[in-house]
Symmetry: C2
Subunit: 666 residues, 2 copies
């Protein structure tokens, strides 16, 4: 069905083309990592020549195989292959300009910078873990659309670094548990890391380790094409995820430096390059590929194009074509806006206190009913994160038709898998944990932001308001640390209305991931006007007052309620206090200067957030007041903590009065 | 030698005391986690009753066994045992006030909050990984002082969450590689997580997994005392780290809820508590312990006290007593200050450009020569982080007398192990990685800060100045995210002099960890005055100008050089520009208001840092200028990136002129 006829070609020459392009590009840049691409060239050649189905003319073809270079420093492997396959955006000039300003050939493969790069890699362990999400998405799409439309593999090349990183454990465990049969990982077993031989730092039996996680495991000589091919065929035939340990020589081909850590991350130098040309019998000038070799690689592309066209024909005749296209398309923002607006109108009538984590679950009932390809999950905090809406069913190894993933206590792999699901296409995805544990998945969140993948992080228990669990679980710096991240929307809604609006933003975001910071404790519904406008999308807005004002109280999330009480206190004393709710700093920063000035006002200000002040300069002058945290929290009931840390209506009112007095004196 | 005579006692009663105290304390708090302490009560009783050597009257006795409750939500296990052992700070009132304001009985065990708590746990996987550092420190101390003075075990209780977290993989691999024979981990194999049965999310064969990492592995019924005791004895006899899989019933003793995820994280309720009292035949009122049971536990304490006194006598007669005490004492700050001051004087004469990562290595030659118990390491970036000074020798499984640790590509376990080494005592420790990968170890760094453990993170490649590796490796938000963390000194030195001063601060810090942000690129020595004062400890200081000034340029690290060039440009145009070097925001915030005002000055300001502006409100008004980054970096040579992102002397000068003009107009 999806087994390719091997293309007759001299695979040694095909592999040596990768080696030559790699060493020459790294030399031209005087920077880069020749070791891994040269060591993996034979494995990659067999994989591409005999198995992989991609069409360079349609790099976004949905049923293509995914290829992930998890050892991202070996980016030249990807660029060389793309060049040889004839990707139009990867001509020789790109290779000559490896690692130079504006080139597609960035130091590490970056999603969106060149066609066919499935995910950004470089931070170790991310590629293999993101690939788990891709392979999971493949099975989930297959369960919905069948083999005719969905039938592809996810291939990963991982180095020792990827397998030493903790995230790999989480990802491998999850993949084994879910029986992701279409995931095939090549371990570049070259026994070398930057510091020297791997036995400086590890004694891990990787094969036994993968077996413990329920994987199919093989070991081959990574320079023996027939053995590699047989292993790939066996891996494809097995119904478990597969790991193929490929014993390789790092920098294979370089006669003097190959096999040593010296070839890992530095150019070979002119002398060793000349010696390598001799040793490989590769007399061609830098970046010159002889026709025979080029033709062999182009045959791979041709085979892929044909397979893609066959698929296209099948899809056109499929009764599920429209549904398939809809799943791959952006979400129906109009439908969601209508549904959320109707829901908001129902909400405003409800006076019950509700935690925003619970309000998130209520909003998810609307979101998940409206967007059929929404996929949720939690890192083993389903009941605390309130991430599972009523109609959701778990995804299991036996049944991939569900839409809820029990990620286990694996925040990092969850985040990476979410990236992979989103990159694969076909689903919108979100996952939950406690906000304090954003730290556990931060490297993958950073990749969401860097790649512009619109996943949603549902992060509950967002302040000292979680109470007794104490400072290990109480974010105080976490919100600031996430606001610091470029291209990450951090939304901290104040009530059920803002929570619904936040979900509308998150679920329809195009190229920006979202963090929802949600309360454990109950909060009243503060917004009572039935506006169809998504005010949360403004970032900040006047919730109360706003004409003539003596002071502006600006608060987020659970502290907006307290600011409203403070305004009552102030007004009782004859002070006109406006209250600004500021759920999303990033969105506010994007508003017009006039809008921002109107919201901030010219009166003295007091910012209120049960977190540190860093980041509040978006709203506050240095002379303005701030009521929040200046250090770690403590273990006690929430109400007592708020009193203990002086985050109260009285404290806000007192700060406001001081600000007004200062202004009067000045 | 260190095998204890089993104390005759009814261990079932001893264990039931733990169960009763746990369920009653959680009920009183109406919050907490009864499941794990009740399930682990039998294992803990056997461990303490027959093996553990601690002296509650001297909880800091250096040769005590370390006990780490890695599943920190089960804190009541620790508090109950401490109460039963007679820790004077853990009376019944503390248990009654579990999770209440001001009580020692915080929701999760917190280092420093109650005697005998060896490390803060709660964030899963941290305990077991910190314990690896403790067990490593034990072996390293043993290599230096022999069995007479150092001969103890590190015992860990870990749940499914700890073993699912990625950090556990890194820690287990490292422990197996180093053959940490004194590390014994009990896995609470209760087959329950918060979401339900473990088979919702994992199929891991934990025994096989630990064997793959080179561990000694056993499995026992976690409610069968003799089997538990035999397993512990076998674990102690083996020369590998040991994992004992203890098959337990979560919430054991609760007749209706035991065995279910419902008992994990909520009070049992009055009815189930009454039923449990019946089932356990435990008729005593809450927090009442019958004399027989109390005596049995107190016998454990007495045995520990005797063992401690024997050790004390041995130490007093040891020729190494003074050396041992010195290793356990704070570092010799005076000696280090003298050595660093002398080194600075030599430096100022040197006009060569040197990267601060290299300057750090130069400073480490001084630090490590002066502080004999300094232990370094790197997460496989030794040559890039420049963390290994010339006399350092690697620590290996065969020889623990070295002082340099090859942590492998395991930033997270490195950070946790550093915490463990520091908590164990006997060493000052530091470890290196790239600054962007602070994200990989952030949860452990947060615990360094929360516990007040003075470890040093050597984080090189601290900006776009690393060049070609591109945005995955270029920190832009990382510095801000670390400055956000309470009790963490983030130091970004501008030259070799500041780097030496930064090391003096870090190496003598008492209760604050340090991050050193160090450049890849070469930088000139800017400080030429031979002051003995550590100006870096001021946080920020006037490097140039400062009397009458038209503008103040404030910069950090590699951008101070550029600010100095900008000052030249401005002065050529008749503008008096002061330059402030600001290596440590936290230290500056702690200076007197007068000092801070004098440094900031009243002239317009321009901040300069190749990173985002967030956090700069310490120095800048909102109206002040800032030259830095507003998004992710790119892959290209460093000089081009600085030009591309407009972080140049010309841009600084232009911003300064705009600021002056604005002020003139106003």
């Amino acid at each position: 069905m999806n087994v390719q006829t091997p293309v007759k070609a001299d695979e040694t020459l095909m592999a040596n083309a990768i080696r030559a392009l790699t060493m020459d590009a790294v030399q031209a840049a005087n920077s880069g990592h020749p070791g891994a691409p040269m060591g993996l060239a034979d494995v990659a050649t067999v994989l591409f020549n005999r198995f992989i189905r991609i069409d360079p003319s349609r790099p976004d073809w949905p049923d293509r195989d995914r290829f992930v270079m998890s050892a991202g420093h070996g980016s030249m492997l990807v660029y060389a292959i793309h060049h040889l396959l004839g990707y139009t955006d990867m001509d020789a000039a790109q290779l000559r300009n490896f690692r130079q300003m504006g080139a597609r050939t960035a130091g590490h493969p970056e999603y969106g910078h060149a066609a066919g790069i499935e995910t950004t890699t470089g931070p170790l362990g991310q590629g293999i873990s993101t690939a788990v999400g891709m392979a999971l998405a493949e099975r989930m799409m297959q369960a919905r659309f069948g083999d005719d439309l969905v039938d592809h593999y996810t291939y990963v090349m991982a180095g020792d670094g990827c397998l030493m990183e903790g995230i790999s454990h989480e990802a491998i465990d999850l993949a084994g548990h879910l029986g992701l049969s279409r995931l095939i990982v090549f371990w570049d077993d070259n026994r070398i890391t930057i510091d020297g031989p791997t036995d400086l730092s590890t004694s891990m039996n990787q094969k036994q380790r993968f077996e413990a996680a329920g994987w199919h495991v093989q070991a081959v000589d990574g320079h023996a094409p027939e053995a590699i091919a047989a292993a790939i065929a066996a891996a494809r035939a097995d119904d478990r995820p597969s790991m193929i340990a490929c014993r390789t020589v790092i920098g294979k081909g370089a006669p003097n430096m190959g096999g040593s850590h010296k070839v890992h991350g530095a150019p070979l130098g002119a002398e060793e390059i000349a010696a390598t040309r001799d040793a490989l019998d590769w007399p061609h000038a830098p970046f010159v590929i002889p026709d025979g070799v080029r033709n062999a690689w182009e045959d791979v592309a041709k085979r892929g194009a044909k397979t893609r066209k066959d698929w296209q024909a099948r899809k056109e005749n499929s009764p599920k074509a429209a549904e398939f296209d809809a799943a791959m398309a952006p979400p129906d923002a109009e439908a969601l806006h209508a549904a959320i607006t109707a829901y908001k109108a129902r909400l405003s009538a409800d006076a019950q206190k509700v935690a925003t984590r619970k309000a998130s679950e209520m909003a998810l009932e609307v979101v998940n009913a409206t967007l059929p390809n929404s996929v949720g999950g939690s890192a083993d905090l389903t009941g605390s994160n309130n991430t599972r809406s009523s109609a959701m069913r778990p995804v299991t190894a036996q049944d991939f038709s569900g839409d809820y993933i029990h990620y286990g206590i694996r925040e990092h792999a969850m985040a990476a898998a979410m990236n992979g699901i989103a990159l694969h296409g076909g689903f919108r995805t979100y996952g939950g944990t406690f906000l304090a544990f954003a730290d556990y998945c931060r490297p993958a969140m950073r990749l969401s932001a860097l790649m512009g993948v619109p996943v949603t992080y549902v992060m509950t228990h967002d302040s000292i308001g979680l109470g007794e669990d104490g400072p290990t679980h109480q974010p105080v710096e976490t919100i600031a640390s996430l606001r610091a991240m470029p291209n990450m929307n951090v939304i901290r809604p104040a009530d059920a209305v803002e929570t619904a609006e936040a979900w509308e933003m998150a679920a329809t975001s195009d190229t920006t991931p979202t963090v929802l910071c949600l309360s454990r404790q109950g909060l009243p519904t503060l917004r009572r006007n039935h506006s169809a406008e998504n005010l949360t999308a403004r970032g900040a807005y006047l919730l109360r007052g706003g004409g003539a004002r003596d002071v502006t109280l600006i608060a987020t999330g659970s502290e907006v309620e307290i600011a409203m009480e403070a305004a009552d206190l102030l007004e009782a004393g004859g002070i006109r206090a406006a209250v600004v709710s500021a759920p999303c700093f990033e969105a506010f920063a994007a508003q017009s200067p006039d809008y921002r000035a109107a919201v901030r006002g010219s009166a003295p200000r007091v910012g209120v957030e049960a977190a540190i002040r860093q980041g509040w300069e978006l709203f506050l002058e240095r002379s303005d007041g701030f009521i929040g945290m200046s250090g770690f929290g403590a273990s006690a009931p929430a109400e007592e903590l708020y009193r203990h840390f002086n985050i109260t209506a009285e404290a806000i009112a007192a700060s406001a009065r001081r600000q007004i007095e200062k202004r009067t004196k000045a």
